[in-house]
């Protein structure tokens, strides 16, 4: 049994402690907003927050996430109100296929927490998520807008 706190809710999951957190979120708990893209920490599709810090859930063994505050894309909106980053994503029409965007939004949220007024260079350095649809310009514009909001 591993005790998890995801988006403020407690879960006891019966899985191998080595199982990557990504699969526990998706397959065991059923939070499918976090995506699989590569499984080797290269694409960022699986980005979640552990105690507010962006982590790539495909390489985090679930045991390491035990008793820490896990936030996924489903946990960003509060009482149905979009988070600031989600709102600027909406305003800037960022998503195309949308598959990478959970990870993008989680990474951007963490970036803005550590660097409230990021430059383009800061954004390019921090946002290493892959978006095959090529939404990068809108990602930058949205992050700048969030920084100003």
């Amino acid at each position: 049994m591993v005790a998890l706190n995801v988006n403020g809710k407690s879960y006891d999951v019966n899985v191998d402690p080595e199982t990557p957190l990504l699969w526990v979120l998706r397959d065991t708990i059923g939070l499918t907003g976090t995506k699989y893209g590569c499984g080797i920490a290269q694409c960022g599709a699986c980005t979640v927050h552990l105690d507010g810090e962006a982590m790539r859930a495909c390489i985090v063994p679930v045991s390491e996430a035990a008793n820490r505050k896990i936030t996924t894309i489903e946990g960003l909106a509060e009482n149905g109100v979009l988070s600031k980053v989600q709102q600027v994503w909406l305003d800037h029409d960022v998503p195309q296929c949308g598959y990478c965007q959970s990870g993008m939004i989680m990474a951007a949220t963490a970036l803005l927490k550590s660097t409230p007024k990021p430059t383009d260079e800061d954004i390019n350095a921090a946002m290493t998520n892959i978006c095959r649809c090529g939404t990068y310009q809108q990602v930058r514009a949205a992050i700048h807008a969030a920084a100003k909001a």
């Binding site: 195309q96 978006c131 990068y136």
Partner: protein
């Protein structure tokens, strides 16, 4: 009359041409999209494919005894099982004649390799187990007895005498000896040319890398004998037809294809892949749904790849620089099996004409089997390279002849007055203002200010170059498309289309068409695409066709709704149908203020009113449109790059594009499509490289080895429209989905060569990696021979 002001406002906000935000986004950015792997059916088992590790080998036997005995394993299946159950092979629905008129080779593909394997990653067997982990473990335990054969990965090597034979029934590995054009006219033009420019030029193989790996769930209902497949694809109607006809040999209504959100496809997810029949087979055999999701390392070899052409491109010019003829000769790598559209054939023909008045063209392509992953469609599917070859030829010719590259382009543009223009590709261009587009692009890029920027770059030790990439695209050939409009019980209106959104964002622009034509409020409109049971026709999304064909289908469907509504309204308002006018969502008796709104009318019908027999009982239509001809989106991209001569690294530092997409329904979406296409173009031009070793083993099979563009590689783009409405469809639309790639490949590569030309470098092939550029700058070179 009462809600007219409201409707005016609605049109201003939600009509055609307005930047309406995407309706899909609120779900997607909450993580509430429903991609295939997000779906789980009750009782589902999991499949894992067992893939070949050899590029070429004879299969002597498959021993699955151990795998079958492993925990959780429900079945291990091979091609013999599929065939015993009557499953047919996958077929390629395309056939060109050879140059000599004989048919091309179209060997069918067994879903699972039977006698031999032909590329690394080809599926040979599959396991179904209670969990995916159990299936994966069992897959490791399947033992193959194989005899390895020599492999061949390069089309030229594959055509050489004595080369390994990929298919017994395609001797010499030749799929197709494709020829297009008037060879005599082209030869004569080259013979009398004052100047001939010749380039050996490559379009590098690209791994498509949709961020969502392919996934599917098969199920079977023994009572109705119906199969259901949940799958990410590009059009459920066409996929259902191929599955039913080729594979299952059943009427189409015995197959139900369902698609939710699709995490990118770019051409790749269109066809029937081997996994799909396997899942349907197992679902029936085991009596439960069977789910499969690819792992990325498998996607790298099992998803069809794109591009991979080698060419000699030649341009004949007279002394003034007028283009006389263009000729492409070379090879298209097919991989181990053939898939539409055979990108190195007709699509190269279509786009190589570009925006120029070249009277004669010839394209010669040998399409060749090799022991590599099959090549199929990738954003543009052979068209972007047509533009790439032409625009590289033009820059090279300009330099060789001492003519300014802008002037050389201008001199050869097809003039607007010359429309309609019968191009030597057989296409009839309806409209275009190519010089106007070029002029706008030069302004947007501040072409005049380049020298100053180059000096600044030089002061920082950087080489700076600029490149023009003009393009003209030919959108998908006409095919039928459904435009269904259904008034629902809850007061919403469903738009039914056989196109399919895999990232484009169709819901808002299609709704904008109905806001405009029927005056239905935007927030009442819902889009339905991904359910084959609901479709009467559907060509899917591809070839930049969707806005054009769905737009046309919905406009025609709207007219039918209005016609039905007039008759019903006449009855309700007690007037003659001929006296009923429709405007902005209301049916009105002409010259009176007596009217009824379209949604109110639908509501009255639902509440069960009695109508005379000759009056339609519903507003719903399920229209199928015979689609309008191809359109010719065009534009001009201008890139500026900086190169660090010490490392060879290229930065795209400025990028401007001016596009003529005709009537734009929604500029926000069109801009997103332009960004995406250009980012993919930058990827192919500068970094994406698919490498096989001599044994046919892929060496670039993960994100550690295969470089994809990320935020740092994508500059901010300046995007402008120079719309000239298309004359051959109702709304005046020209498709935009693939144009970004078509403009970006030449713009970026012309800029790279421009930066390097002072070092005597005449051409570099894509991808222009730092290593390649560094070597060109620092090593004695061969590749710059004239």
């Amino acid at each position: 009359m009462r809600d007219e002001p409201e409707t005016d406002l609605a049109l201003m906000k939600f009509g055609i041409g307005q930047p309406v935000p995407r309706s899909e986004d609120p779900k997607l950015l909450r993580g509430e999209g429903r991609y295939t792997d997000d779906i789980s059916l009750s009782g589902q088992a999991y499949a894992v494919m067992v893939r070949s590790r050899h590029a070429h080998a004879t299969i002597r036997g498959i021993d699955s005894t151990e795998a079958r005995a492993m925990p959780g394993v429900l079945g291990v299946y091979t091609q013999a099982d599929l065939e015993a159950a009557g499953f047919g092979p996958l077929k390629c629905p395309i056939a060109f004649p050879n140059r000599d008129g004989t048919p091309m080779k179209t060997p069918p593909r067994p879903a699972l390799a039977r006698d031999k394997v032909r590329f690394v990653g080809e599926a040979v067997a599959f396991i179904v187990a209670e969990t995916a982990a159990q299936a994966r473990d069992a897959a490791e335990a399947v033992i193959f007895d194989v005899e390895e054969l020599p492999a061949v990965t390069d089309p030229v090597a594959a055509l050489a005498p004595g080369a390994p034979q990929v298919h017994a029934d395609a001797p010499g590995n030749l799929v197709l000896d494709y020829h297009y054009g008037d060879a005599d006219a082209v030869n004569a033009a080259f013979a009398r040319a004052a100047h001939v420019t010749r380039l050996e030029i490559v379009s590098n193989r690209v791994v498509v890398n949709a961020m969502e790996p392919r996934a599917a769930i098969g199920s079977y209902d023994p009572d109705t004998q119906r199969w259901t497949l949940h799958v990410g694809c590009q059009g459920v109607f066409g996929l259902r037809a191929s599955l039913a006809k080729d594979v299952l040999n059943v009427p189409p209504d015995k197959v139900h294809v369902l698609t939710g959100n699709v995490g990118g496809s770019f051409g790749m997810k269109a066809p029937v892949y081997p996994e799909y029949p396997c899942l349907l087979f197992a679902a029936r055999a085991l009596g439960r749904p069977v789910k499969w999701t690819d792992e990325r390392s498998e996607s790298f070899v099992s998803d069809h790849h794109g591009r991979d052409h080698q060419r000699i491109a030649e341009l004949a010019l007279d002394a003034e620089g007028n283009f006389l003829a263009v000729r492409l000769t070379g090879y298209g790598n097919a991989g181990a099996f053939i898939y539409p559209p055979l990108p190195a054939t007709i699509n190269a023909v279509k786009n190589v004409v570009d925006v120029y008045r070249t009277p004669a063209i010839e394209v010669n392509s040998k399409i060749v089997f090799t022991n590599t992953t099959p090549i199929a469609a990738y954003r543009g599917a052979g068209r972007p390279e047509g533009n790439y070859y032409m625009e590289r030829l033009i820059d090279t010719a300009a330099r060789e002849m001492g003519i300014d590259r802008v002037e050389l382009r201008r001199r050869n543009h097809i003039a607007p007055q010359a429309m309609p223009w019968k191009a030597p590709s057989g296409m009839l261009y309806d409209s275009g203002d190519f010089t106007g587009v070029l002029d706008d692009a030069l302004k947007a890029a501040d072409w005049q200010g380049f020298d100053k920027r180059r000096q600044e770059s030089r002061a920082r030790g950087r080489l700076r170059g600029r490149g023009i990439g003009s393009y003209l695209e030919v959108t998908a050939p006409p095919s039928k498309e459904m435009g269904g409009i259904r008034f629902e019980a809850d007061g919403t209106v469903t738009m039914i289309s056989g196109t399919l959104d895999y990232g484009q964002g169709h819901a808002s622009p299609f709704a904008q068409v109905l806001v405009e034509k029927l005056g239905i409020p935007f927030d009442r409109l819902r889009l339905l695409q991904g359910d084959s049971d609901q479709l009467k026709a559907g060509g899917g999304t591809g070839g930049s066709r969707s806005a054009l064909v769905a737009g046309q289908a919905f406009v025609e469907a709207s007219a039918q709704v209005i016609e039905r509504g007039r008759q019903i309204a006449a009855h309700i308002l007690e007037a003659a149908a001929a006296d009923i006018e429709f405007s902005r969502g209301r049916f009105t008796i002409a010259g009176t203020d007596r009217s009824i709104g379209i949604l109110e009318l639908a509501e009255r019908l639902r509440s069960g009113m009695s109508l005379p027999p000759d009056v339609p009982s519903s507003l719903d239509v399920a229209h199928v449109s015979d689609n309008p001809p191809s359109s010719f989106p065009n534009g001009c991209h201008i890139a500026e790059v900086e190169i660090d001569p010490d490392t060879g690294a290229v930065d795209v530092v400025r990028y401007a594009m001016v596009n003529d997409f005709g009537t734009v329904i929604n500029p926000l979406l069109v801009e997103g499509q332009a960004h995406g296409g250009v980012v993919q173009g930058i990827g192919q031009a500068l970094m994406e490289h698919t490498v096989f070793n001599d044994e046919g083993q892929p060496l670039t099979g993960s994100y550690m080895d295969y470089a994809l563009p990320r935020a740092v590689h994508a500059p901010d783009f300046r995007v402008q429209n120079h719309p000239v409405p298309c004359k051959s469809n109702i709304l005046g639309i020209k498709g935009c989905g693939e144009a970004g790639c078509a403009g970006a490949l030449p713009a970026v590569m012309n800029a790279v060569i421009d930066a390097l030309q002072e070092h005597g470098i005449r051409h570099i092939d894509m991808p222009a990696t730092p290593e390649k550029i560094w070597r060109a700058l620092h090593e004695p070179r061969e590749e710059t021979r004239p």
